[in-house]
Point group: C2
Chain length 80, copies 2
């Protein structure tokens, strides 16, 4: 089963990369942008066929390696 997970900075954490991208887009003439936030996306293809088990495993991977839980949140956005 392939699990898709998104890792984003917590709301109150400053996102300098997002700010630079926002300024660059402004400079390119893209108006009307309030904010840009950047995060990471992972697709994890596992041999596990049970959706709940596969998602639980990926949650553990996020907690132990993929996400820095002090400043980041993670969310599973797809299982197929």
């Amino acid at each position: 089963m392939k699990i898709s997970v998104v890792i984003t900075l917590k709301k109150d954490v400053l996102d300098p990369q997002g700010k630079v991208i926002h300024q660059t887009l402004d400079g390119m003439g893209f108006e009307g942008i309030n904010e840009v936030r950047q995060g990471k996306y992972f697709e994890i293809d596992t041999k596990e066929n049970d959706k709940k088990k596969a998602e639980a495993k990926v949650e553990e991977m996020c907690k132990k390696l993929l996400a820095n839980l002090v400043i980041e949140d993670f969310k599973i956005i797809g299982s197929q």
Copy 2:
């Protein structure tokens, strides 16, 4: 309107970061992983309230700045 977009390497493009994460997870005892692919995730908050227009604008941002269309694909995964 806030648009969420994911940018991933095209299927046939080597993903060295994904490979290193895969090996690290293996080393941590996470078995049964076939593959790990890493990508970028953006949340773009725009003043545009029309969903179609907001999505079209973000697509243009992807084509012009956020994605390298030679090696990457992009997909809008949410509008709220």
